[in-house]
Subunit: 220 residues, 2 copies
């Protein structure tokens, strides 16, 4: 419908140009001290045009997380049918990491820069948290639907997802902070943290309720 036209190609081109130069500028001179005008000027584009591509300055920094999230969600849905939720989240995540990040494409380069950025700037980190939260709700809804329970009343689906995100964040933070920014280091650290988190969670906790008579009576 709208593929491979000259127009579309140009659009994609300026979009990636904006992302790349923005990431580089952010990394070299800081996120908050870099103005949108600078980015736009570096791509020979007006500031107004920038904001037609990205609603906010934050969006350009976290842009490449969006597609990854979509892929992740799809992967998760594939596994949800025959895996426990937490395990499905972990394996889906690992898969996405392998295909998206560990490959040495331009996309993976961008992704790594974004990860570093999000770890450096508290604002970007918070923005990323917001994204996680949004996707998390969708994931939790999927789990709840699979289990046939009400996601608004039963905390377990969201808890599972939040635990998972927590582990991912902690793993990422551990990897970035100390020294290395290796590709595999990141993946390994997150895997380790996920493993610890998974070990912490009681066996069977993230499995469907085979027979639940009470709504929330599993306490005490």
């Amino acid at each position: 419908m709208s593929d491979s036209g000259l127009r579309e190609r140009k659009k994609q081109q300026t979009r990636t140009a904006l992302i790349d130069t923005a990431l580089d500028l952010f990394l070299t001179q800081g996120y908050e001290t870099t103005t949108v005008d600078e980015i736009a000027a570096a791509v020979n584009v007006s500031q107004r045009t920038f904001f037609r591509y990205f609603a906010t300055k934050e969006e350009v920094a976290l842009a490449c997380f969006v597609e990854t999230e979509h892929a992740f969600f799809a992967e998760f849905m594939l596994r949800l049918d025959h895996e426990a939720p937490f395990a499905a989240l972990c394996t889906a995540w690992r898969t996405i990491m392998q295909t998206t990040i560990l490959s040495n494409t331009e996309r993976s380069q961008r992704f790594r820069k974004s990860v570093r950025l999000a770890e450096m700037s508290p604002i970007l980190f918070a923005g990323n948290l917001r994204r996680n939260l949004k996707v998390g709700k969708q994931l939790a809804d999927a789990i709840a639907t699979r289990w046939g329970i009400d996601p608004e009343a039963d905390p377990r689906p969201i808890l599972i997802v939040e635990f998972f995100w927590a582990a991912v964040r902690v793993g990422t933070g551990l990897c970035i902070h100390p020294d290395t920014t290796d590709l595999e280091e990141l993946s390994t650290r997150i895997d380790e943290t996920l493993a610890i988190a998974g070990e912490a969670l009681r066996f069977g906790w993230d499995t469907p309720p085979v027979q639940q008579a009470e709504s929330s009576g599993a306490i005490s």
Copy 2:
């Protein structure tokens, strides 16, 4: 040194006035659509003065969380010596909830408004996440110190704290969303969610490592 002077009293007065009118305006007409000028005008104060009290518009909305956090941290530290971390977090939280929120003082009113606000506006929610994160690091550091481990290398302290925050957030969300904004409802729901989370976490997982020979070899 600086208590109970006329000046100090006035300052405190305008500060609380700013908070209260800000919260009311935010709740009635939305956070983002309310301008700082409106708030300042409603308190008969210049916009510049507003920003001398609060660094950002966000800060006034989440102001009353700060003191609560301090109290929470202090409570936690008291219990860390003779309780497992996750349990200490839960009991400390419950204590703070009892004394700060369930009491029907003006402070509790403000707190409830802030909770509702933070649940309504994604931006404020993210801001709150950032605060949680910051306090979380301090809490994790305390746990790591108590355990005699390196918080930058071992993910468990941060994981414990993040799991706790996740449960608190989920519980709060469950309570706010459906209907009631009861005082006790909030506390009860969070307690329930914390109980579920606590049940999910394996017994002994958040206890100090009595003999750890390997650094991260607990992974199957």
